[in-house]
Subunit: 427 residues, 2 copies
Amino acid sequence: MADLSALSPEQRAAELAHQREVHTEFKAAGLTLDMSRGKPCAQQLDLSTPLLSILQSADDCFGEGGLDCRNYGVIDGIPEAKRLMAMLLDAEPDDVFVFGNASLTIMHDAIARCLDYGCLGSTPWSQLPRVKFICPVPGYDRHFAILEQFGIEMLPVPMRADGPDMDAVEQLAAEDAHVKGIWCVPRFSNPSGAVYSDAVVRRLASMSCAADDFRIFWDNAYCVHDLDDAAAEEERVLDIGIACREAGTPDRYLKFASTSKITFPGAGVAAMACSAANLAEAKRLCGAQMIGHDKLNQLRHARFLPDAAALREHMRAHAAILRPKFELVQRKLREGLGDTGIASWTDPRGGYFVSFDGLPGTAARTVALAKDAGVVLTGAGATWPYGRDPEDRNIRIAPTMPPLADLDLALDIFICCAKIAALETLR
Amino acid sequence: MADLSALSPEQRAAELAHQREVHTEFKAAGLTLDMSRGKPCAQQLDLSTPLLSILQSADDCFGEGGLDCRNYGVIDGIPEAKRLMAMLLDAEPDDVFVFGNASLTIMHDAIARCLDYGCLGSTPWSQLPRVKFICPVPGYDRHFAILEQFGIEMLPVPMRADGPDMDAVEQLAAEDAHVKGIWCVPRFSNPSGAVYSDAVVRRLASMSCAADDFRIFWDNAYCVHDLDDAAAEEERVLDIGIACREAGTPDRYLKFASTSKITFPGAGVAAMACSAANLAEAKRLCGAQMIGHDKLNQLRHARFLPDAAALREHMRAHAAILRPKFELVQRKLREGLGDTGIASWTDPRGGYFVSFDGLPGTAARTVALAKDAGVVLTGAGATWPYGRDPEDRNIRIAPTMPPLADLDLALDIFICCAKIAALETLR
């Protein structure tokens, strides 16, 4: 298809009329397709079926050193689960605190502790007149929702192909002591799929911060979620822990990961890794909140994924399911919108999303049109703080959940809607 | 044994010397026995072994309405788990919010939400100059630890055989708007085993509170934890929800329960029940913290305990294991200390503890002596706010975990230590 802005007004009107006819046909078909959230599909979940029955008898429930994982205790996780999560977190097992099923909860609660108690002796953030966080955009809506609920002001900075715009980040961190943290999804960032370069990681670790208790919230949600072996080899991210220790800022980072997109999203294991000082403080403060998380589920996971080779093999099986979906997204968008001049999108090598940018002022309209035709997309604006994309152009495409045939159809509808929204704007 | 205070000084000195010899022998034996925490024993845990393998295949993971419990979502719990937890909570399933493995975490987080956001539009508690809680004593150390960590002032009131001293509770609640809540363990209270009378429940529900957002934290940890069928029939507690609705205070209560002492303490299911308004607020606020808890574990529990009859039968099996232990405690204490005039203790019909009162000034010494002889007891003072028992006399006895033979020996040692501490005081 030709560049839509290069068409004559008459040609554009004809194309708009045509796309509206197509859209009307889609609507008449009464479809219900969901591309809204980064959920694994049923076929992926089936890969972890052995996890269900890996503990069968009472004898199976005893961990290393004879620990009865059925009973109370062990607030920071059993040793075998610490080792598993250390693989995901680029950490030593001793630096790992294993929690329940959701890294989102760990991150929320970590910020709550900063607000209530400060960090390693600093003033509790809640006692400050204001608290601000740096938010690379487009970003993850649930990260933003935590900050919004706590009343923490969000400062968007642009996300690049190699991580956040570090000039902007450094300036914000250096000039304002109320700037207390930054969200980072360092590998296959949500939604762009960007992978942080070593230079970006080093700048984050070494930058001058007006706040002594500045914290990098390092959400490594897609740490092993590559679409192929080449990506696993080539898209390595420098560990923020190493970078911070080298930069003399060992307490600056908190790393998070989970098995949500490795085993079962609703029933996985999540963990945090950080410096010994941060870990000791977290253990002390969490002692009032919990006696221990589900150690049986920790044990199930440790036995199901006993080493790096097992983990790698398991993630290869995920990739085999997901790769055709991501390839389909690229092919359909290229064929449908490639030469139209109305859109650009990312082509990630892992993770769960493709970030799509339409013409300014078209994202909300595209999402609404798609909904009319039975395709639920992530809400327009969701990738921005407060749900407000100032240019109204970014849409997160989540291709993992629908079966291939559904995804194919959903993309046809999406492309049609993006064209309509663009043509209405160009008119 | 005779009343120790009625003995002559010489007789007391001789008895003290004798008990010290006994104590020395115990020490020499190098024992390690633990009566410190209310943990189920291995035999109890074995009762729930079928839970481990109740979900075997991918097909087993689908709940009512075809919900795939492996995937993300359903923040407030699956319907079948709501029904199970409603049985424990004396609630309707619609009033239940199912969480993860620990009611302690739910209670901690519920208080955190009151502090951060207030209740149903009230001023956030953290913005008040101070917040106070009524704490019946002796009580549960982990309840007190939550308040202490949040800087909430604790106001002890005496615990009676039928619940807290309601004259004291009513006065505190009525006169000070900073008094925001009360801890209640209404059935087989920790540690006394007291069961709240209907009159106490009605007074809690209907009392005048200076704080409009006063909350009763109703921790029904031992809701079905009877030592025999007669107790299950006779020791019924009026539901605080019914009482509050009748009293026109429908939002005053938050009820909590878990399967920690029904199935696996480390891997159970916990839930909260409350008014529709409180539930809606909790769901809204929790949306930033969690996507959903472990629905596979919820499904396991719902299938393992599908109805009231199954639950009752399962708790009977627990009682059969625990009853001899509680009977042993009563027999040994009666035989060892019954006529000495130095101690009194409760005789609960359920729950996990016996509350022991020695002579004033002897609890810390008794616990220290026991530790010297290899018996770990709950720390003296733990049953009081800030760990400070003003009379230094209360000790929580937790007889559930040790095998009967160990418990027998531990009680011998405990009785010896209680006598030594008393005789030293009487000297």
